[in-house]
């Protein structure tokens, strides 16, 4: 495995680490994995998750680039005249162009956690070079069953019931955010719109692995919720969903990271990657 620090982008403003396998996977046209920032955490990822995943992928013959988007980590902002959203697309485009120019890959799998998952979804919609996404604690919407899962146990806990009634009778207050996670109501677009976007990606043949943790239980709290919240989506082999209720949002414990890495490698190797 070889790791190389790289500068790319219009003003060489973006910084990333390219991880290259000793032996390239025998499959032709395999996509490279592009790792996006998880919120404000720089390119190493929470608890060095991106570093360890990149090395695991390289050991399996898969290239990856973990990089800081403009203004994050060690990268400077470019595309100053553009909106935040356009800068994100531009940075991702610069990263993919860079890997294409180096003839490393011509198709890509995006990896993102939390805000990084939201970006990965948006970038995948816009750039047809994206053939897959690994989305950790991405989009989520409550379903009737979410309410049951959330509130039913509380009915049998007098203290929780008392608090619920007290809150219901009190003027509304904004709940403090759980650490590391933006309140989901502020993060996601309208459900049907996002469902349509996911449908578009499925139609395009984009492969997606959604992983939800216990750290997202404010908006995702049972294993089959993905299929219930996007009930207009037809069942598709291109979407796989995992639910790790015992795992925290930032994969703090090694056993959780190891479980995730093993699942990602298994998922990556089980896909028939389309070529561009």
């Amino acid at each position: 495995m070889k790791e190389t620090a790289c500068r790319f982008g219009p003003e060489s403003n973006l910084i990333g680490i390219l991880s290259e396998p000793e032996v390239k996977d025998g499959r032709p046209n395999l996509p490279a994995v592009l790792m996006l920032n998880a919120g404000l955490v720089h390119r190493v990822g929470p608890h060095r998750m991106s570093v360890k995943l990149a090395r695991r992928l390289a050991a399996c013959g898969i290239f990856s680039l973990r990089f800081d988007m403009g203004g994050r980590g060690d990268s400077e902002s470019a595309h100053h005249e553009e909106s935040d959203e356009r800068r994100i697309f531009a940075d991702a485009n610069d990263a993919m162009d860079f890997l294409e120019r180096k003839n490393i890959a011509h198709s890509f799998v995006l990896f993102g956690l939390c805000g990084g998952a939201d970006k990965a979804h948006a970038i995948a919609l816009r750039d047809s070079r994206v053939v897959g996404s690994i989305l950790l604690d991405g989009h989520g919407y409550w379903t009737w069953r979410s309410y049951v899962v959330h509130y039913l146990p509380r009915l049998f806990r007098p203290r929780a019931l008392f608090n619920f009634i007290r809150r219901a009778l009190s003027p509304p207050q904004k709940a403090p955010p759980r650490f590391g996670i933006t309140p989901f109501t502020e993060r996601f677009g309208p459900r049907r719109e996002v469902e349509h976007e996911v449908h578009t990606l499925v139609q395009r043949g984009t492969q997606s692995l959604y992983v939800y943790t216990g750290g997202a239980r404010d908006y995702y709290n049972y294993a089959k919720q993905f299929h219930d919240m996007f009930d207009g989506l037809k069942s598709s082999d291109s979407i796989e969903v995992e639910f790790y209720p015992n795992c925290d949002h930032l994969f703090m414990f090694e056993e959780d990271r190891e479980r995730l890495f093993a699942r990602i490698v298994e998922w990556f190797n089980s896909r028939n990657w389309r070529t561009n």
Binding site: E3, A5, L40, H42, V44, R48, F179, E255
Partner: protein, 245 residues
């Protein structure tokens, strides 16, 4: 990562930045970047780096890690002097980075122009106990507890690393450092910082002491997952470091 001096202001002096370890490393990365930029703008050569087994560097944390990291600081100092071509070096150490900087300078007998300790971990025992308390709070959020490992808040702390941090005697080790000047910059005035200052003034009578009255809340689980609030204290550290070169 080497940041050269801004050409118009270049000076013959270099600053080595020693980051904290573990979760505090993640939390302070942006502050380190800002500090490097401000020092570079002031005309200084700056190097910040990841210790072995942390950040972008190779390897994993394992046995003998404290000594490996101490060697890393010495290697980084040599590298910075070679890249920059200057011979005036000032070292800034944040939290456990202050411990590693002091130990490297003391053990290797490196001579430096200045030493800046930023929110230094003075009692390693209290530091490890703090991490254990924070970890316990996170474990409480789980449905089932994790398998027992040497991890604390997502980073490995093998037994000998904990022992080295816990047993580190900052007040006596810092006095061995061959520095012309020293300073302590803290986010919040604390008796232990004052005690350290008193000890350092025995060695450097003009030791500077800057306090920001803006607690960094190193012991807060909620804050620990946020990127460290930066602005004023980074400016203070940059000003103090610049004044020592």
């Amino acid at each position: 990562m080497y940041t050269p001096p801004r050409a118009s202001t270049a000076r013959d002096a270099a600053i080595l930045i020693c980051s904290p370890i573990g979760l505090e490393y993640l939390r302070t990365h942006y502050a380190m970047r800002l500090l490097a930029k401000q020092l570079s703008d002031a005309g200084l050569h700056v190097l910040r780096f990841d210790y072995h087994g942390t950040g972008d560097s190779s390897g994993e944390v394992g046995a003998g890690q404290f000594d490996v990291w101490v060697n890393d600081v010495a290697l980084a100092a040599d590298e910075l002097l070679e890249i920059s071509g200057v011979d005036s070096l000032t070292v800034v150490g944040l939290r456990t980075g202050a411990q590693l900087a002091i130990e490297a300078l003391a053990r290797k007998g490196l001579r430096v122009r200045g030493l800046v300790l930023w929110d230094p971990v003075i009692s390693g025992r209290e530091y490890i106990a703090m991490l254990e308390r924070m970890q316990s709070n996170v474990v409480l959020e789980r449905i089932t507890p994790p398998q027992p490992t040497d991890e604390l808040l997502g980073s490995h702390f093998p037994t000998d690393l904990r022992a080295a941090i816990e047993g580190f005697d900052m007040e006596s080790r810092v006095r061995i450092v061959d520095a012309d000047a020293a300073a302590v910059v803290v986010s919040e005035d604390q008796p232990e910082y004052r005690a350290l200052l008193t000890g350092m003034q025995g060695r450097w009578p003009d030791t500077m002491y800057r306090t920001m009255d803006d607690p960094a809340k190193w012991d807060s689980v909620r804050e620990a997952f946020d990127v460290h609030k930066t602005g004023p204290i980074v400016r203070a550290v940059a000003e103090v470091a610049e004044s020592l070169v």
